[in-house]
């Protein structure tokens, strides 16, 4: 981390601390790196787009550039790769998502209307057909699927599906006040039911029940509206707000800010399950994604997506206490 980054992180931490009395984050964190996979001039990851970790600590990546899903052991050693370029069963044009649940590995493609299903050994099992292109995906503990599906350029809908892909519920996100609104969402399923959404082009995260009822909504980046720009006659958002969402084992929601944030791709805001902002930190370099495993270790990208770095989060309050 260079001097400028250290300074910017300090400024952010100071601002967050100063804002605590006004309901802003009260806790910040030190990141302790404990694993790196890939890197420049290494042939391991070419542009990883999503990561998921199984119960044994094995790490799975979706890699958009070599059209695959890859598995590494808990120490970061490469084990296996599945998939190849194509549109057939087990194939990808640009793999953009992976989620491990129990013995099953789900992976999906950009603009794809299917989800490819593998076992934990990355042996292809079957293809699930989705009702539209898959934008976000997560799995409930009982195996049901929560999928953000887009049928047009507008807002997606959330489909709750059985493990075999059978539809059980559809939750529309359409905005009656702005039916032409364009946006896309990140999604994390709540083990107790319900889910949290983060909007890429709106400064908004929201928690909903499984029926779609709104529980709370927050503006993690500061609430300033995103100005649209005119692209070929279409007014489209010009800045990103929520790049990625993650959930830790305590149910806290981590929000990675986009270029609307002070430090694009680096500012991470932490919300309690009931929507109170409880902390924040700044990544050493921009990431497109945040993810937490069952041991509350943070996975982020570095080097433009050819590297994965894993961190432990140490609250600075705990660090100060140990020094005393």
């Amino acid at each position: 981390m260079n001097t400028k980054h250290v300074f910017l992180c300090f400024v952010l931490a100071a601002a967050l601390t100063a804002g605590a009395a006004a309901g802003r984050p009260s806790e910040d964190f030190k990141l302790v790196e404990d694993l790196t996979i890939g890197g420049p001039d290494k042939d391991e990851l070419f542009l990883w787009t999503a990561v998921s970790v199984d119960a044994d600590g094995n790490i799975y990546f979706a890699d958009a550039l070599d059209c695959s899903v890859k598995k590494f052991d808990p120490a970061g050693r490469f084990l296996k790769k599945a998939g190849r370029k194509g549109r057939g069963p087990g194939e990808f044009e640009k793999a953009v998502g992976v989620a491990v649940a129990g013995e099953t590995v789900y992976a999906w493609d950009v603009y794809g209307r299917t989800v490819q299903v593998f076992d934990r050994e990355l042996v292809f099992q079957r293809t699930l057909t989705m009702p539209g292109t898959v934008g976000a995906f997560d799995v409930f503990p009982d195996g049901r699927l929560a999928v953000a599906v887009r049928a047009s350029i507008g807002l997606p809908a959330i489909f709750i599906l059985s493990p075999d892909g059978t539809k059980s519920r559809v939750i529309s996100l359409a905005d009656p006040k702005d039916p032409s609104r364009i946006d896309t969402v990140g999604l994390v399923a709540d083990p107790a039911g319900g889910f949290t959404l983060g909007y890429l082009f709106s400064d908004r995260i929201e928690r909903r029940t499984e029926n779609g009822d709104l529980i709370w909504t927050k503006t993690p980046i500061g609430g300033r509206p995103v100005e649209p720009e005119n692209v070929q006659g279409l007014r489209v958002p010009s800045q990103t707000c929520v790049l990625s969402l993650a959930r830790d084992v305590r149910g806290r929601i981590y929000v990675l800010g986009g270029n609307k944030a002070v430090h694009p791709g680096r500012d991470v805001f932490i919300f309690s399950p009931d929507g109170i902002i409880v902390g924040a930190f700044c990544l050493p370099e921009p990431s497109h994604s945040v993810y937490f495993d069952r041991q509350d270790r943070l996975y982020v990208s570095a080097d433009g997506g050819v590297t994965m770095k894993r961190y432990r989060l140490v609250p600075r309050s705990a660090e100060r206490a140990s020094v005393r």
Partner: protein, 167 residues
Amino acid sequence: MQSIKAFLAAFLAAAAVSGLPAAAGESFPGGRFALVLIDVDSLSCSPCSAPLETLCRAVPPSVQEERIIGILTYQDGRTPDPKRAGIVRTKWTGYSRAGGIRIRASVDEAHVFNRMNGEGITVLLLDPSAGIIKRWAPPFPPGAVEAIVRFLLARESPIMEADPCFR
């Protein structure tokens, strides 16, 4: 044109791409070839990288290896950055391997080709005697890919005058 030839010669020599049709010097011995300028950030975008894949499907693998030079450009940075160059090389390795692409490519660390390449790819056809004789950026007009293939396969034969795509 002379300055572009000198520029390309210097780039190719500095890039140390072995076995290329133009090894060094201001002339380009060894026949015609194509430079394909590739914005590496476009590789992760399906619509942006589709023209490159179309071109590579049309050109036989052996011709890709022998007569096409890939130059990987990227937008950020003004000065040579070995780490960034390594990232670009790594992305190209993954992309080309997955797509069966046989073009050999070097990173434009000095950003000399950035102003010639927008977002996506640009194809430059070069002749040892004439320098750059055609430049295309997608979307390719009808017949352009076929004309590129004919150009690369014809090597020394004077096809330009007869080929409407080169007028």
